[in-house]
């Protein structure tokens, strides 16, 4: 492979899409685990799942792949955006409004907000876990484990945090709405028959994932 492959605009977009789709699969798994808090208010199922994710060796390796995926997606996104700004040093007096999707105009901004949320989110859970500052939860089968569910429930008792969390997730939904179909287009997967379905499924995916994440703090806060 020549050097062009490493640096061309299309190459960057292909990597951006692959990592973006990979991060979407992570969102689905994460949502599945979070929803356990709604189905089991005793937090046992959620804590078992969190314990498994925190101790399973394969997941531990995968965690670094995921971290790498986030970093590459973010770095590529910033590089692409800087190049895009440089491509039009002088803007228009009246800017155009012909884009298909309004969210596509703001991907860098929604992306930066998601990144800030990710840092806060890791601070709330991951860092506390690393520091061993999470209260213990006793499970008859598996013995003692960390009560990650309690951390979640305590955070969602705060009205301010719930509002912050919901707003951030809506922004993530806007990002996803454009991202899904855009990833397929960048990978060259366009078809007269299937592309309308991919676009429709992208909207559906963004709504379902966002609603799924939002419903958890709302239910915990109001019950």
């Amino acid at each position: 492979m020549s050097g062009t492959f490493s640096y061309s605009s299309i190459t960057k977009k292909i990597w951006m899409s692959l990592f973006g789709l990979f991060l979407m699969t992570f969102l689905v798994v994460h949502l599945g685990i979070n929803l356990l808090l709604l189905f089991d208010p005793s937090r046992e199922l959620f804590n078992i799942a969190a314990h498994f994710m925190g101790t399973n060796p394969a997941i531990q390796i995968f965690q670094w792949v995921l971290f790498g995926g986030f970093i590459v997606h973010i770095i590529l996104g910033v590089i692409l955006q800087i190049q895009n700004w440089m491509a039009r040093p002088k803007g228009y007096k009246i800017s155009g409004t012909s884009e298909d999707s309004i969210f596509s105009r703001y991907m860098i901004y929604t992306g930066i907000i998601i990144f800030i949320f990710l840092v806060i989110h890791l601070g709330n859970f991951f860092v506390l876990k690393m520091q061993g500052a999470v209260p213990e939860f006793h499970h008859e089968g598996a013995g003692h484990m960390e009560d990650m569910g309690l951390l979640v429930v305590n955070l969602f008792k705060s009205t301010g945090y719930v509002i912050f969390y919901v707003v951030l997730l809506l922004i993530m939904g806007f990002h996803l709405d454009h991202a899904f179909q855009s990833a397929f287009q960048s990978l060259g997967l366009s078809h007269l028959k299937y592309t309308p379905f991919i676009k429709g499924f992208g909207h559906f995916f963004a709504i379902v994932i966002t609603a799924g994440y939002i419903i958890i703090p709302l239910v915990i806060h109001f019950t």
């Binding site: 895009n84 440089m86 155009g96």
Partner: protein, 246 residues
Amino acid sequence: MDLKLKIWRQQGPGTKGKFVEYPVKNISADASFLEMMDILNEELVAKGEEPVAFDHDCREGICGMCSLYINGNPHGPDSAITTCQLHMRKFKDGETVVIEPWRAKPFPVIKDLMVDRSAFDDIIQAGGYVSINTGGVPDANDIPIKKENADLAMDAASCIGCGACVAACKNASAMLFVSAKVSQFALLPQGKIEAKRRVESMVAVMDDIGFGNCTNTYACEAVCPKEISVTNIARMNREFFVAKVS
């Protein structure tokens, strides 16, 4: 109808430009936009002022020479037409019309509303052709081509290279133009032989010149006077990927 025009005036490349207001009166609703510009220029010349420089040639919507970014739209508010096919009946009496040149780093302003679009020529020179020795005219249907592919290639080939896609794109990306030129050859057997080299070279030149990256907003497709589809961009992405990994 009477209009208030706000036009970008710039003496030459690299000089500082500014918007200048020009009122125009008694313009026929049946006049074309460029005829309205001609009327303005005649008035300016009569007053001893410098006329507004703008690109135009065939005035039949096929040469791709006219440009103009009118009230936030390349080629004006109508769809699937070039500026020369735009008529004044699309505007309201008393309306303010803001006219700007295409804005992109690879399209520097030459004067007023004229921009240098030779960056597109550089991309074509990198591979937008088929290298064949000319001979006698081949018989029709000598090489069988699927009707579907012939139609898609013809659609892609209808790109007139006006640059509206670059002008509309928030990233000043030339992906729609380049993908149309790549597609018109990639879809046909005559173009397949050089397909890999073509897509690699044309994308490399496109990037080197400084066009932005495609973020799939599809503004290009929305403003294209020839309605070139963004499926061409997906095809070019595929062609590029295959060229690089095979």
